[in-house]
């Protein structure tokens, strides 16, 4: 079930009514049932996969909790890890690796028959397997006590607001919340609903509108000039942020309405002053997961500078692969890994240069330059994330800089007009929506602005909520299929 569907519009109020209408002890079982209902809407058979993963991880956790030494617990850890990793491999990566092996074999004139496994990717599999892996590792290391209640553990894995695209929660954060009763609280419910409405605005008014503009260009990049390619890259930079952060807001808002606190996943990422800073603001739950379960076990920064850089690069390569079984994602990850390594290696040079140019004495300008440079680097990397194939990505990333000298003002205007679907009101709607997003992010980013922000009167606030809902209804684009991160 999609958050931006009519189905969800019925589902959510019904769940809410039942949830707060039932005695507290029945609420968690209700949530488990509706979570599976929510998930089975995609492809019922994959509900079995979710249930199987849940059962195996639950029993592994329970078994480990009864064993005293790491050596005794280790087989259960390995069993659970093998099950999660193989699930991910079979459903997500098998075809990718087979295709790659086949292409390699063909290039080497080596006969190799590719085994065919036409499996649809279960929605959210990357998210819930990562969540389960985190749980099982935490239980193994003793950071977390194993959950003994099967229903509660199943709800932890399948909790519907964050099941299909995160945030990737930790057992230590969520399991205690499932043990608490959650009474109706006006302020909390209202705040959750506000967050959901804002997330929906970002998704249907901004992200899906931008998608209509950038998709034709990414689908046929060879037919477009450098300006159109640049507009598409800029548009996708906005789209993916509005899409994923919009999804996260709806997920966090829905959980908050029910009384649960999900972790923050975004902190105004496009205000980052470096790529390292960007990753401390973008998809925080995934970054934290890779830090805790890959980077630190690899040695983190404990084995010298070269090893640290290597670990960073490996983490981003894997992060790229996590996003999708395609070379475009691998290159995207590698590009970010390279950015981070380069950022670390050039740090002294950049500091000296800033000193020499007098920028060190002008911190605001330096900050603004950092934000601009980071945004350009991140946007450039998004080309590889969005392109349909590696050749397309290379075409866009190179032709983006060509032909600007020959571009006439008439051509430029035509290109911009076509980008906005040759419909002038779309320009106004798009820019107004992006402007609103920028204002909200500015307010969240700069505490001084937030401090100056005066809480409007009740009437104004409700008028604002009404306007937001009306904007979603009238300006929203509802014919797109799903959130970008659902495919991962």
């Amino acid at each position: 079930m999609l958050f931006n569907s009519l189905h969800f519009l019925v589902f959510f109020p019904v769940v809410l009514g039942l949830y707060f209408g039932l005695p507290a002890r029945w609420r968690a079982p209700l949530l488990l049932v509706v979570s599976y209902y929510f998930y089975l809407g995609w492809r019922p058979i994959y509900g079995l996969l979710l249930a199987g993963t849940t059962l195996l991880d639950y029993f592994s956790g329970v078994r480990m909790s009864r064993l005293t030494t790491p050596a005794q617990r280790r087989p259960w850890l390995y069993l659970s890890l093998a099950s999660n990793v193989s699930t991910l491999f079979i459903f997500k990566y098998f075809s990718f690796f087979c295709d790659t092996a086949s292409e390699l074999a063909t290039a080497l004139h080596f006969p190799f028959a590719v085994p065919l496994l036409a499996l649809a990717l279960p929605v959210g599999v990357s998210f819930y397997t990562f969540q389960s892996v985190a749980y099982i590792v935490d239980v193994y290391t003793g950071r977390l006590r194993a959950e003994q209640h099967l229903g509660r553990f199943a709800l932890f894995v399948a909790f519907w607001p964050q099941l299909v695209a995160g945030p990737i929660e930790r057992g230590g954060q969520m399991l205690p919340q499932f043990r608490e009763p959650h009474a109706f609280d006006y302020g909390r419910v209202a705040s959750g609903l506000r967050l959901m409405a804002w997330g929906m605005f970002k998704k249907v008014v901004i992200a899906d509108r931008l998608a209509q503009m950038v998709n034709p260009i990414f689908d046929h990049p060879h037919q477009y000039n450098a300006l159109a390619l640049a507009l598409a890259v800029a548009g996708f930079t906005g789209q993916i942020y509005a899409d994923f952060s919009g999804y996260t807001d709806i997920a966090r808002g829905a959980a908050r309405v029910l009384g649960y606190q999900l972790v923050l996943n975004f902190r105004q990422p496009y205000f980052a002053t470096s790529v390292g800073d960007f990753w401390r603001r973008w998809h925080l739950s995934l970054s934290a997961w890779f830090r805790d379960y890959v980077y630190i076990p690899l040695g983190g920064s404990r084995r010298g500078r070269a090893h640290t850089q290597l670990n960073v690069f490996i983490v981003f390569l894997l992060s790229g692969l996590w996003h999708g079984a395609s070379w475009t994602f691998v290159v995207w990850g590698a590009l970010h890994g390279t950015y981070l390594v380069a950022e670390s290696l050039t740090q002294p040079v950049r500091a000296a240069l800033a000193q020499r140019l007098g920028l060190a004495a002008r911190p605001r300008l330096l900050h603004a330059l950092g934000v601009a440079a980071t945004l350009v680097l991140v946007a450039y990397a998004w080309i590889f994330f969005r392109a349909n194939s590696l050749p397309d990505a290379f075409y866009i990333s190179t032709h983006l800089f060509q032909g600007w000298g020959q571009l006439t003002s008439r051509e430029a205007l035509t290109t911009i007009g076509r980008f906005f679907q040759a419909y002038p009101p779309e320009v106004a709607v798009t820019l107004a929506a992006l402007g609103l997003l920028l204002i909200v992010d500015l307010r969240n980013e700069f505490s001084t602005l937030a401090a100056r922000w005066q809480r409007p009167s009740t009437l104004m606030r409700w008028a604002g909520y009404g306007t937001l809902l009306l904007a979603i209804l009238l300006f929203g684009v509802f014919n797109s299929t799903q959130f970008i991160y659902f495919q991962f």
Binding site: S5, Y186, Y423, P425, L473
Partner: protein, 311 residues
């Protein structure tokens, strides 16, 4: 809880009221887009089926004026596009939903051409058959007879609702309440340059399609199922619609035995097969009949069907 409930009710009510006031005039207009009216009309008794060629070539009003006394109404052109409505499980399911279940004496025009029965070759040999239209409008729409159709407005309208209020009256497409899609172009004889250009573009689309496609046994099986199903509800007429000469030649080259195959299938299922592929009618683009020609053709089709069933 009650306080919030009342507040939300008031808020949503106000938003609904304002949106309703803005959109109501637009939703009452006959032409919303190329598909919407087909999903707001009541379940139909007689249907015109096929792809865009059929959507533009057959006027249910013309059929009804000549044959209305013999067949059940309401009459509806329920043909969409090659992408949306080739013959397959999704279209069959959608037709089942659209057909009034108590119909016994309906007339069903099943327009066929090689494209509507083809699939693209799979990228890898041995891959299972996938019908691309399963993910399209026809595959997704569950409610096909509701006015206003919220499912369509919420998920399948190709533009935001505010654009309805700023409706462009010079629109090129006009979907009539009976489902006929009229493309508002002047007669092809008045602008031969544009016609040549559109025809060239159309051929440029279909040539690679012919190279990448094959006549699908799965689609043929679905067509058989469809005809068998429709025969339970009335008379089925399988029709090969007229098109431009260049596209007709390409179809002949792509599937030389197509007419014989259709003739055999129709005969085996007890349905007449009317073949107009050689008939000469002006088109908009080398594929779809010009609106004036569509009217003339529909009258001819009605006469031919009347001759088939003199009772």
């Amino acid at each position: 809880m009650r306080k919030l409930f009342i507040q939300l009710l008031l808020l949503l009510g106000s938003v609904g009221l304002v949106a309703g006031l803005v959109l109501a005039p637009a939703l009452q207009r006959p032409y919303l887009d190329a598909f919407y009216a087909r999903f707001t009309s009541p379940p139909a008794g007689s249907l015109v089926l096929g792809t865009s060629r059929s959507a533009q070539a057959v006027l249910p009003a013309e059929l009804q004026s000549k044959l209305g006394a013999h067949y059940a109404g309401p009459w509806l052109n329920y043909a969409f596009t090659l992408f949306e409505s080739p013959y397959g499980p999704a279209y069959l399911a959608s037709i089942r939903r659209k057909l009034a279940p108590t119909t016994r004496h309906g007339l069903f025009i099943v327009a066929v051409d090689p494209w509507a029965l083809s699939l693209e070759w799979p990228k890898e040999p041995g891959q299972p058959v996938v019908f691309p239209e399963d993910k399209s409008l026809i595959g997704q729409m569950q409610i096909v007879s509701q006015n206003p159709n919220l499912e369509y407005l919420a998920h399948h309208l190709n533009y935001p609702l505010y654009q309805l209020a700023l409706h462009d009256t010079t629109t090129l497409e006009r979907l009539h309440p009976d489902g006929w899609l009229e493309i508002v172009l002047p007669p092809p004889t008045t602008d031969t340059v544009s016609l040549r250009q559109r025809t060239a573009e159309k051929l440029a689309t279909y040539r690679p399609l012919a190279a990448a496609s094959y006549l699908s046994a799965a689609r043929l099986h679905n067509l058989r199922q469809l005809i068998s199903f429709l025969k339970l509800h009335g008379q089925v007429v399988v029709v090969r619609l007229p098109t431009g000469p260049a596209l007709a030649a390409l179809e002949k080259q792509y599937q030389p035995q197509f007419d014989q195959l259709m003739q055999r299938m129709a005969t085996s299922l007890g349905a007449p097969y009317l073949n107009y592929i050689e008939a000469n009618y002006p088109t908009n683009d080398g594929n779809h009949l010009w609106r004036g020609a569509a009217r003339t053709f529909s009258q001819r089709l009605a006469s031919d069907i009347a001759r088939l069933s003199p009772d």
